[in-house]
Symmetry: C2
Subunit: 210 residues, 2 copies
């Protein structure tokens, strides 16, 4: 659990936490992940590179996993939805951008390792759901709204409940396909694949043969 960020009101008395240490630790974590991957990154090494004591890490994060989630989350926030004017190219572009992000070792190995630990740790699960899932759904919401405004998609017939489930479904399909191809099938994602995927998503299975 991140103590710094989950505590809304910082204690008033005593020496305050060093913001430089926060940044230095997160930066060191990211750069170490890029070079070494999840397994070979140790808390001791992060502390050394950040120029702080290892105990300072454990004063802020309860475990290596939770530190890594926070360090990786800012990488995922780099994802943006380009307003290309067409739903088709919007999807293609975001798929390519997401694939590009997953090529970076810091995102790749860290994401999988953290997800793995989350299968048995509820605290981590909640954190992932908030940071990696909830925060990225905005892309789907935004893309849908634009497409509906342009008349490319019909407006939502049901209430917001129905719309929310549609967003969830689309998110899992797009993110799932990209993650699965990148990290499990380990095949490259280029523009040609993105186009074929978008064809499938827009036209459905029977329309993909041409």
């Amino acid at each position: 659990m991140v103590r710094t960020m989950t505590a809304p009101s910082r204690p008033r008395r005593g020496r305050p936490r060093s913001p430089e240490a926060d940044r230095a630790i997160l930066d060191a974590t990211r750069s170490a992940l890029v070079e070494l991957g999840w397994r070979k990154v140790t808390m001791g090494l992060i502390a050394e590179r950040a120029g702080v004591a290892k105990t300072t890490l454990y004063r802020r994060w309860a475990s290596k996993s939770e530190l890594v989630v926070d360090a990786v989350s800012v990488v995922f926030d780099e994802l943006h939805l380009p307003d290309s004017g067409s739903l088709r190219t919007d999807i293609e572009d975001v798929v390519l951008a997401f694939a590009e992000l997953l090529r970076r070792p810091e995102a790749k190995s860290a994401l999988m390792a953290v997800v793995a630990e989350a299968t048995t740790e509820p605290v981590l699960r909640a954190k992932i759901k908030e940071i990696l899932v909830g925060r990225q759904k905005r892309l789907v919401v935004l893309g849908r709204q634009r497409a509906q405004a342009r008349g490319e998609l019909p407006p939502d017939p049901g209430g917001p409940e129905q719309a929310s489930r549609a967003v969830d479904l689309i998110f899992d399909v797009i993110a799932g396909a990209v993650v699965h191809r990148s990290l499990i099938s380990t095949e490259p994602i280029d523009r040609e694949w993105a186009q074929r995927f978008t064809n499938l998503l827009l036209g459905g299975l029977p329309a993909t043969s041409e």
Copy 2:
């Protein structure tokens, strides 16, 4: 690497490997994974439960990851494609069966942990690609053939090259969506979700609003 199974010709001389030990080790690995998850399962514990020495494990598998891949692979082989007579229900059923499989802790945490390690270990990557990806694609191939025979899908226009890429795409979309929703979004997969997913897959994005 699995030495037993990758060696096609066993050495003729000397004491042969005990098949009982093989089975006992794999069984112990699976049951330990169910109870404890990836992190808390140790090679020492597996050896103890299997009634063999820890060194015997290392004579067969080079690392914990590779042992776990083999132990989990048989679980994935349980997946079958029910011949329901309709592409729609074929997809729904296989989605539900796959989701059910991913509910089991042995598959869930072990799969993710192994994938995580595979991001930095080429040997593991090849193994996963063979066992978890290549072997399961048969379901897509079979389902497509049946649907084409029934006229639900058009026949392949391009050569086998094109058909193979179509299978890869569909596999990543289906498996990706199920894995993503199960393990990253951590939302339940019930028949209603499977139906909405199948709608999307068959009809495409514009057709999902009704």
